[in-house]
Amino acid sequence: MSRALRDVLDDFRRTPLLSALGVTTIAFSLFALGLFGLVALNIRQALEKLEDRVEIRAFVAPGTTPEDMGQAAGDVASFPEVQSARIVTSEMALKRAQSELGEFRDVFEGAVLPGSIDVQLKPGRRDPATVKSVAERVKRFSFVDDVRYGEEWIEKLYRLRNIAGIAGLALGFAFAIVSVIIIGATIRMAVLARSKEISIMRLVGATDSYIRRPFLLEGFAKGVLGGLLALVLTWIAQTMINRYVIETIFFTARVALLGLLFGALIGLIGSAVSVGRHLRRV
């Protein structure tokens, strides 16, 4: 077994609590990132699905005749971006709203919903810019009151995703800082415990990088362990959400690996910062 590896095991044995704490904080850091990352990921997934269904709905003024609506729908259908345009009369709108809302259908009892022309865009032409330009052209019909294309919804989801992302990053960053400090403290103790050995290493001509190696390896190992722990925790959390809340998707293997690497990086930074500072004093 290499001397560096032996030294790492020695240190885990010497300071088991502090070592475990270092691993745990790295795990928490990545767990926070992972959870909010999952939220962001699933929102993005939802947004993609929403985009598939993107539909422009042009509400017509009350009293517009089905003939006028049909004429307009025909015109709209001939736009190059448009796949189909179909008319929804006031009665159809009410029926649709009731069926979509299921148990809340009573809300619409006696309500009058406006009729509309529903426009479906061709696949590949559903980007926000195209949607907007078509919506603007549809708006030019004199009897069109209002055009909706789910922009508020999409915007809200985007905002939610951003909030989840920022929250995850902030919490993850805070835990990362804490783990860098704790790992640094562990390394400090390890350096002190081995100060005599280190000074003899120096005396007989060991290079600084050789002397550093076991400490860096130690940080790296803790980072990987923390990363694995975080992955397991995140996976458990996701499984619970799937079972009790809603169906969600998990990270791809590549993203999970990236998380592990990030953990290793935190551990490495924690030990590198500390070992540089403390070796100088031995």
């Binding site: 003899i200 120096r202 007989v204 001509g205 600084d208």
Partner: protein, 231 residues
């Protein structure tokens, strides 16, 4: 081999420890370094193995200059030097063999050659039978032999010894000194700081005396500043 050119060293709080020292030690020489406590002997030796760098002037050791050497150059230089101290500096939880082998291990020597080299050098210092012992199971003289074995295991061109007999009784001192002479006879330079005037008087080796950071006597240059001879 070892050359000091107008070397001074001052520490921030204690001031000048070595003051304008020029000096040359050639291959195969045996040199006593003496002088009162605080004269600057240890500081001078530290500048040879570049634990300290001069404040002004230059130290050159085997082609390595104190002015330009990087940390890695210093590490490489120390592989060509053997260094021993008054307090032995052995690792308590390792056997004598492991202590000696440690010096090879940490500079990346292949494990296949370590065993043979350790055995050879332990025989040379007379500790062949005690390789498996821990340092605390040895006498002071034996511990110093182990430390010398560790210093020799890399075949250094020079051995730097800072009061190697400072903690030893007369008998053990004679034994260690005898060992250093044998090592020197095989071609290794030895530079030994000592307060043991008896030892210096009884041996015809080059003697350098320091006082207040300066060389006040050097038997190799009797014409220079031979102000006073060690009594």
């Amino acid at each position: 081999m070892i050359r000091f050119t107008r070397v001074s060293k001052s520490y921030p709080r204690t001031g000048t420890a070595v003051n304008d020292v020029s000096l040359q030690v050639n291959k195969g020489e045996f040199v006593f370094l003496t002088g009162a406590s605080g004269a600057g002997k240890s500081t001078l030796l530290k500048m040879i193995y570049m634990e300290e760098r001069p404040t002004t002037g230059e130290v050159r050791v085997a082609g390595t200059s104190s002015v330009t050497a990087k940390a890695n150059d210093v590490a490489k230089l120390r592989r060509k030097l053997g260094i021993v101290f008054q307090d032995f500096r052995l690792l308590e939880h390792r056997t004598i063999e492991q202590n000696v082998g440690f010096a090879l291990e940490v500079i990346g020597a292949p494990s296949t050659v370590i065993g043979g080299k350790v055995a050879r050098v332990l025989t040379q210092v007379g500790l062949a039978a005690k390789g498996r012992a821990l340092p605390r199971e040895l006498s002071g003289g034996e511990q110093q032999r182990a430390a010398i074995a560790r210093a020799l295991v890399n075949d250094p061109f020079a051995l730097i010894a800072d009061e190697p007999t400072g903690n030893l009784d007369d008998r053990a001192t004679r034994g260690i000194f005898q060992l250093l002479r044998e090592i020197n006879a095989q071609g290794t330079s030895v530079i030994m700081a000592t307060h043991n005037l008896e030892l210096i008087r009884r041996n015809e080796f080059r003697t350098i005396e320091m006082a207040r950071g300066q060389i006040v006597f050097d038997s190799a240059e009797p014409a220079s500043t031979a102000e006073r001879r060690t009594p």
